[in-house]
Amino acid sequence: MIEKRFHPDLYDREAVDAAVRVYDAFGTIELEAAAEAILVRVTAKAGVDEQRLADELANYALGTTIESRKLTTGGGAS
């Protein structure tokens, strides 16, 4: 099991939720939201690289966060 920690100031909760939904088919993913961090615990199914699954999930959450903040603030990332 791999635990990923997402700081709520840097990652949108909705983006992490979306990432969990996308990668849920590849393993068991638990999500725990606290004030100081959003914790995601990833356990991959047999035949799935657990580290890669956790990293892809984190990338998806970051990309979605950036895209949503870019849309709402009208600037920043390019």
Partner: protein, 146 residues
């Protein structure tokens, strides 16, 4: 797969949006993870994806360059924001075209709203240069017809 490498940025020098921008540029080639590790400090962990021909050191270097570029562009934008807004609003105002007849008819023009006209620019030619009734005509210039 190579080991991840991490770097910490001071948010006073690199705004969060600049770090987001740099992360977005590299996200197709690297696994990127952001975290806060102190007051105004953001730690970036980078690891090249499998099959991508970039070393962690190259990824970090590219990330730093991109973050610096993003921060600089942002500063230029902030410094010129007023000018950009003024030009944009003028361009949009010009694109709207001249006022139509309905717009002109809808204008409220009364004694209260009329502008001052000390030079008489808005007066008609006849009104401005009409002959005064008690004015004496020059000699020989206004002979009555028989």
């Amino acid at each position: 797969m190579s080991e991840p490498i991490q770097i910490t940025f001071d948010e006073g020098l690199y705004p969060k949006d600049a770090i987001y921008g740099a992360a977005y540029v590299l996200i197709d080639r690297c696994y990127v993870h952001l975290d806060r590790t102190g007051e105004n400090r953001i730690t970036v962990k980078l690891q090249p994806k499998p099959g991508v021909s970039i070393t962690p050191e190259q990824a970090i270097g590219e990330f730093q360059n991109e973050a610096l570029g993003q921060a600089w562009r942002r500063q230029i934008l902030d410094e010129n924001r007023a000018l950009i807004e003024m030009i944009s609003s003028r361009a949009l105002g010009g694109a709207a075209g001249p006022p139509g007849l309905d717009d002109l008819l809808a204008l409220e023009t009364s004694e209260d709203t009329a502008f001052d006209d000390p030079l008489g620019i808005a007066m008609s030619w006849e009104e401005k240069y009409k002959k005064k009734s008690n004015e004496t005509p020059p000699e020989g210039s206004n002979k009555e017809e028989p």
